[in-house]
Assembly symmetry: C2
Homo-oligomer: 286 residues x 2
């Protein structure tokens, strides 16, 4: 594992959430990791300005901020609150120096069975937030979440749906997040990646592997790279064929990884990334 092999690697903060931000920055320096995807909650707890200074001093590129979104409420007061919160997230992204805010769009409001209506309310919100973001140099990246989250977390379930929303707006306002965990099952996803690339809308590319059995609530079962069913080289090939040359974030929510030493998990994740996404398959012994 050398610096060249790690040059596009970014560690999403959630993967090693047991590491306080200064320790994460220090561990990245030691390993030669140059990119980090941050989350709002730990950044706010540390202080947004302080976090911005910390990562800047450490020479880290903030590849994304996770996350804005939750834009599906019907209640007008809730909707105003969601817009305000997303404006704050955009401001935080700008302060941190990242050009990408990941959006998890939100699920069905309580009692609603109307997926189409919920998706339209996301579009209404993007019409407000897109210009606000672009004025601050931030792009919104709609993340289609796996269909198992459609009711309670994100009504945008496929890359095609995400692009149907994003393409109503300029690409410097709204694009998509391509995350292997959410789209690996979808035989239409490769053509949708090409569509996204052609429009300049692949705003970030994230990796996680699919392992079973899924845990209760299905949130914290994202597998370590190489442990599951997803061919990482193949998906990296799709996004590269679509013109994406940016960082590749590894974002895992995994109770088993969180229970271990954070620096050890970071090193393992970097190694797995190189083995399964960077080196040719022959070198991985397959």
């Amino acid at each position: 594992m050398n610096d060249q092999e790690l040059s596009r690697f970014s560690i999403n903060q959630m993967t090693v959430k047991q590491l306080p931000l200064p320790e994460l920055a220090e561990a990245c320096r030691e390993l030669g990791v140059g990119g980090v995807g941050l989350w709002r909650e730990p950044v706010q707890a540390y202080g947004v300005e302080a976090a911005a200074k910390l990562v800047r001093d450490a020479g880290l590129t903030v590849t994304t901020l996770c996350r804005g979104g939750f834009l599906t409420a019907i209640d007008p007061v809730e909707r105003v609150g969601a817009l305000d919160d997303n404006r704050a997230a955009i401001d935080e992204a700008a302060t941190l120096g990242t050009d990408t805010l990941v959006l998890v769009s939100g699920g069905l409001p309580a009692g609603s069975k109307d997926l189409h209506g919920a998706r339209e309310r996301i579009a209404d919100a993007l019409a407000v937030l897109g210009p606000y973001a672009a004025e601050r140099g931030v792009r919104l990246a709609i993340e289609p979440l796996h269909p198992m989250y459609a009711a309670d977390r994100c009504v945008v379930s496929t890359l095609a749906q995400a692009l149907d929303l994003a393409e109503r707006f300029p690409a410097d306002q709204v694009g998509v997040t391509v995350d292997t965990y959410h789209i690996w099952w979808d035989d239409r996803a490769p053509e949708q990646i090409a569509r996204a690339g052609a429009g300049g809308r692949i705003h970030t590319f994230q990796l996680a592997d699919w392992t079973t059995p899924l845990p209760v609530g299905v949130l914290n079962g994202r597998g370590q790279i190489g442990d599951g069913a997803i061919d990482m080289r193949q998906w990296k090939g799709y996004v590269e064929a679509a013109g994406y040359t940016g960082h590749i974030e590894v974002e895992l929510f995994n109770e088993g990884l969180w229970a271990r030493d954070g620096r050890e998990v970071l090193a393992e994740t970097a190694e797995r990334f190189v083995e399964h996404a960077i080196r040719p398959a022959a070198y991985a012994g397959r």
Copy 2:
């Protein structure tokens, strides 16, 4: 709830698996339920011929037999075994007098990351099994399972994928299972239902509701009709607009329902079916 409202209702045996087959038949008679979807394991335990006589004497229509499939193995010996087992399932369906065998196609073989290859092996098997089934008056009904089962249970994740497979064969050999639980999130599903109907390939229509949080392993979380996010009338409208006039099975795998009195669950399920799928919305108090 009257006989007319229940005329298209079929109870899938798994919904009330705590009821032995004779009790299920008796409970159906008492309630005026005329259709039942059976499963191979309890039918085999009771005896296939004896089960056929029981349901025939009770005047029940066997709407489906669940399930054949698991056709994705690479190992030649396993593949031969799977074909033999599916021929047996077809024979059992014919003996039971049902015209439809539901197929759960199978997941990825251990260590494989090749969804496309697995789907092609299903087609290879259907080329053998389709004629065998049609000669016995049985239609194979590929069931697309929710994408959360793609790795370990069924690599056919959407109605479009199921139809791509089915349409390689005559409709009296291979069609699809439309199950709300698996497709409700998919904005392409309504057009795919129309495609399936136009080709005479809607071989069964099943209902289950989507409730969260999902349980560990995500298998036994199928919600009682009306408890979740799915608009049953809307999906019934789609299949009817596509020309489907057959029975509608309610198939729930739910630990909570299994822990209750089976006859009570059957009665509740019939009531929920009428309330949420049959009566106009106004009568349901919405």
